[in-house]
Symmetry: C2
Subunit: 84 residues, 2 copies
């Protein structure tokens, strides 16, 4: 049993209106030291794979095929061994 | 300049329909080794704070007041020093 923690974020060149809205809300709460707010997704999966390499392969494919939009988003993930 | 990377996730006891939908989609793509899919938010902020302790305080307050719903969500964050 492996646990994959996946982060997807909009590419740096793409405008992030959700992040901008949150940044404006933070500013109106008085947090004017916060800038460059960007929002992405955090996806946690359990993978019943036989090896860490197999779990990495499955996570990579899942990101490419479903979890991230490869045109607009970047993704990173890390695999850790979890209790089954 | 510090960078805060914040993760918010629904509490374990709360049903995550978005995660369940993604899990079903993955299964229909043939990834039947993937279970327990949960989806949260990933928020990245830059904080112009004078010290790491101040940046942590600002990030903690921002999570409590705006970024996470304390009734339904847990949050974790880490602060790293970034180039200004």
């Amino acid at each position: 049993m492996y646990i994959a923690k996946i982060l997807t974020t909009l590419r740096k060149t793409i405008l992030d209106p959700q992040g901008k809205a949150v940044e404006n809300s933070l500013k109106s709460l008085g947090y004017d030291k916060i800038t460059d707010t960007r929002i992405g997704k955090f996806i946690e999966l359990k993978i019943n794979a036989g090896s860490k390499a197999e779990a990495e392969k499955i996570a990579e494919e899942a990101c490419k095929k479903l979890l991230a939009n490869p045109v607009m988003e970047d993704y990173t993930f890390e695999i850790t061994e979890g209790e089954s």
